[in-house]
Amino acid sequence: MLQNILLGFAQLASWDVLLALLIGTAGGMIVGALPGFSAAMGVSLLIPLTYGMNGTAALVMLTAMYTSAIYGGSITAILCHTPGTPASAATAIDGFQLTKQGRGMEAMGVATVSSAIGGTVSAIIMLFVAPALGKFSLKFSVLEYFLLAVFGLTVIASLAGENIVKGLFSGVLGLLLGCVGLDALAGVPRMTMGNINLEDGINFVPALIGLFSVAQVMSLAYDVHHGKTGSVIEDEENLKHSRVLPPWKETKTLIPSQIRSSLVGTIVGIVPAAGAGVSSWICYSLGKRFSKHPEKFGHGAMDGVASCEAGNNAATGGALIPLITLGLPGSSVAAILMGGLMIHGLTPGASMFTKNAPTTYGIMVGFLIANILMGLIGLFAARYIARVSSAPMGLLGPVIVCLCCIGTFAIRNNMFDVLVMLVFGLIGFVLKRCGFAAPPLILGMVLSDICENNWRRTLILAGAKGGLFKYFIGRPIAIVLFLLVLVSFLSPIIMNAVSKKAKSSALEK
């Protein structure tokens, strides 16, 4: 296998592949950063353009774009609270707070390093373990996907912000919004109001852009009319001491989060349908749970930024594993990448490691280097890019709006999506004013289909195999996941009870 890896490196030793790598990485960062443009969009628009390039170069460029777009999203998430891609929505929460405190550049530095770590870890895992892991992902079927989605849902509670009840309401509303569209199993239109554009459901990218970006610019408008005519930065003091990374003392405390998120992220990525977005939420929530200062989360915790960004980039490598080994995409962007593979005559599956092994390893090595390169470019450019946050809101806001419009349209050449974005902008604003958190809404929308469809499929499948319980017992992975769900669900309740007891017994003393 080692010689395959060396073969892979050899593939990179040609100009067109290296150039493709560079363009994919740099281009991905830009695409990811621009609000309205997501990784999915960048990759799908790029695929027809690669048609004519050599296979290795094309796929190196596409996978590089995937990972660096997921990273790029953090740039605007941190600096303008407008996540450049859905996977950076979690980063926006703490990242923007840090920007307001004048620590935007440090946050970017942390995001860069974390993303690079996450991506590189997943790339290494992919390189060494892909074929074996491929077989592992085959063991995941409908019940496992369902349980994983439920696990993702338990994370909602930790994202609810100050009012748990309202946060839950957001989450359940998100699940409901995810039900809009043609029922996957019966083909019946649900809540589509007769509109054909809703048959595939509310596309969550425009919804996210509306909820985060449009709503954000609306509130910028409010700020401008109330005297804050400068930039989003509130605490100009910190700007004077700006550095790209926080001091080593602080940075090293982030390492455990980054490693944990990288590993969790890779695994979440491997599971089909759960991609960088779901991974970022799960890792953010885990980061909060394991943090020494969970109360800081939501108000500018560097740890929050580190966890999400490592998590979402790790998922990119993870998602590529079942894609390459089985033709089973680990995320929605990976599904698009599958088209890229096919366009270049590469059929995912066993042949990738036999007759196409040199190309495959070339792609995997390219992906590894792309992550490292992305980290370096990011660190170098952070200083300059962070200046964007110093731009006056009055100029930045309108540009963001225009970008969002064209980006949303470009997803599927459909103006309806732009209208969805508009509507969700208003919804986002109303939700915020009434105290409902937005992240649970998005998480609910993303997980709704995975949850429901796989549950119903499980019922059908288990029914034909002798009953749900019997089916469940025979699947060790499902049992483990179920226990994880229980732990995730009960632990805050238990911890709450435990700490109350500790407090009351301390008082008694």
């Binding site: 628009l45 409901l176 039900c179 199993l185 019966a186 019946v188 649900r190 409010y222 508009l422």
Partner: protein, 156 residues
């Protein structure tokens, strides 16, 4: 002393109303398709009641404890963002009439003016550079048909 009803009471009522609407949209769907939406709707209904009751309880709190309360829908808080939203909505609708490029050329300036900018030179430069980049990247390179409709659709 006038009883100050906490806004959560109204919010709770609005949520409950939403639940009713959702119920009517989903009941009677064939094939088990309505099961999940109705289940979720039931949960939302319960949560609405909790919010409503919470609002009632907060209404009864003495004035000092309620000092930090943020009101959701004061005219001041809502007016400007909503007007901005209307401007964006107008911008989107303008695509149908004049196409993306003309609409953006005009509305970007309008939005910047609304955001109280007065530095015309910078505004115009940004506007033009933006349009040029978008045209090259999207229409020429990527084949996205954003300017394909509207009377003045095609610029070049």
């Amino acid at each position: 002393m006038k009883k100050d009803i906490h806004q959560d009471v109204y919010i709770g009522i609005a949520c409950a109303a939403l639940c009713v609407v959702i119920f009517f949209m989903n009941h009677g769907l064939p094939g088990g398709a309505g099961a999940m939406p109705l289940l979720l709707d039931a949960i939302l209904a319960v949560l609405s009641v909790v919010i409503f009751v919470g609002g009632l309880r907060k209404s009864k709190l003495p004035a000092e404890e309620r000092k930090g309360e943020k009101k959701a829908f004061t005219l001041d808080a809502v007016k400007i963002p909503f007007i901005f939203w209307l401007i964006v909505a107008g911008y989107v609708l303008l695509f149908y009439v004049t196409g993306y490029f003309v609409a953006t050329a005009v509305m970007m300036i309008v939005m910047m003016l609304f955001m109280k900018r007065k530095d015309w030179k910078t505004m115009l430069i940004i506007d033009v550079v933006y349009l040029v980049i978008m045209y090259f990247v999207f229409v020429r390179m990527l084949g996205v048909n954003i300017d394909g409709f509207g009377l003045l659709g095609r610029l070049f």
